[in-house]
Symmetry: C2
Subunit: 88 residues, 2 copies
Amino acid sequence: MLDLLVEADRSVNALAEDFQMSRPAVSQHLKILLDAGLVSEQRQGRERHYHLVPGCFGPVRDWIAQYERFWDDRLQRLQQHLLKDEQP
Amino acid sequence: MLDLLVEADRSVNALAEDFQMSRPAVSQHLKILLDAGLVSEQRQGRERHYHLVPGCFGPVRDWIAQYERFWDDRLQRLQQHLLKDEQP
DNA sequence: TTGACTGGTAAGATTTTTCTTACGTATATT
DNA sequence: AATATACGTAAGAAAAATCTTACCAGTCAA
């Protein structure tokens, strides 16, 4: 769904066409994405267009970045440790 | 689990102490993380030490980066569009 | 206003995930 | 050798997720 929405905004029926599951199932998925802040809703007449929220993956990226900082720190400590051994 | 393992390598029992679930449940989680390549195993006697694989989130980061490229492109196109209107 | 279209929600069935207990194997300790 | 420790795996129970059908409300078009 996210892959489809990144290309263009879509209505629920338009999204449902690309999946085997029923329309209500798609609605339920969208509700979850909406609650998670990954997607936003814009009502146009009887249709509701969903679109991907720009930068919505920020929190995930930040979470991953924490780990990468840890690894960087470790590597740095290792390098310093090795340098000390080389010139006593 | 990942949060614990990023600090230091741990044996299964050491990990299980920090959770309410049983040790076998922890083992099952570790198997999944192992299969996913997020974690690696090193046997030391009868213990097995697990540690976080450095850079294991690369694929996730790449996946997210795809979206961010899309957003960048859109923004760029929008900027160019606006510039055209300013100087006719 | 009536009928068609869009889509959300509830209820319940189905599927999947996740847990626990029981047990087997390998390594260590005595 | 006998016992204890660390850990994986199988089987089945329990919990959570995901789907479908049925139904309701809002919007549009005749």
